[in-house]
Amino acid sequence: MKTNTWILVVLLGLTASGFALSTTLSGHFATACILGGAGVKAALVGWRFMDLRDAHFVWRLGFAALLCLILGVLLLLDRVLLPA
């Protein structure tokens, strides 16, 4: 339970940081930081809360690949489509 609590503290900290960042910065750098933070949070939720740490490596790899694919496409779209 102690580890779960620390994970929660990190998740809440990243959420607050992302919000603060979005109010102070804009542009591609801010997008990369905000989406990167979301990726870290999703990975922590999957690894610890969804117990992927106990799963076969194929599930861990597949989950990581899916997150990278989704966030990678979103970041790419932001860079390619949106004005700098």
Binding site: K2, A42, A55, G62, I70, L74
Partner: protein, 206 residues
């Protein structure tokens, strides 16, 4: 059925089924719920891709739309969902370890779910009060679609957790039989994951 409970077992400990957990066909919660997780993530990702592409076509309208959104409610809701995930992770940890308290932690996760739904309803009510409805413009059409679809998922997850809590209180689930609770927990965490993608793209990006 073998009882693997131990009063001193820490609730952070891995599942008592040990080696079975590393089986390709037995991920935590079962294969079916993980197929659902993958499909849901891909579905919402497709919606977010449409959202970003459309924001290129109507950049000013999307910026104006985001300015109307209630940022504090969305921030608090994100924290509520993450805390709800923590409640549920602790519930499953205690259940696996054969310790008391799983029903209470599940109840806390249900409360978090209701709090999210209540705050989201307040946010929706404010929008409706200001005359912002589905189909007003592309931004708000996608906003209602994506967040509304997620709202329904949280509602389903809360109902699942209510059923699991009832089973926990009746003693149906124990360290030798907790797969249903684990599956419901994975579905609950999936709602976290989806929101962790929706929240930055819809509310934060400028």
């Amino acid at each position: 059925m073998m009882d693997t409970s131990h009063p001193d077992r820490p609730c952070d400990a891995p599942a008592p089924h040990g080696p079975h957990r590393k089986d390709l066909w037995e991920p935590p919660g079962g294969v079916l719920v993980w197929i659902i997780v993958c499909l849901e993530l891909l579905t919402f990702a497709a919606g977010l891709i449409v959202f970003l592409v459309q924001s290129r076509a109507g950049h000013a309208a999307f910026q104006a739309g985001r300015a109307v959104l209630n940022q504090p409610i969305a921030l608090v809701n994100t924290m509520i969902l993450l805390t709800g995930g923590w409640f549920m992770a602790n519930a499953i940890g205690l259940l696996r370890a054969g310790r008391d308290g799983a029903a209470r932690w599940t109840g806390a996760a249900i409360s978090a779910g209701f709090a999210f739904l209540l705050l989201k309803s307040v946010e929706y009510a404010i929008k409706v009060h200001h005359g912002i409805g589905f189909g007003d413009d592309t931004f708000f059409t996608l906003y209602w679609l994506l967040t509304g679809f997620h709202f329904l998922h949280v509602l389903v997850a809360v109902v699942l957790l209510l059923v699991m809590r009832s089973g926990l209180r009746r003693g149906k689930y124990h360290p030798g039989n907790f797969a249903d609770v684990e599956s419901a927990g994975i579905f609950w965490h999936m709602c976290d994951l989806i929101w962790l993608l929706l929240y930055p793209v819809i509310y934060l990006l400028r």
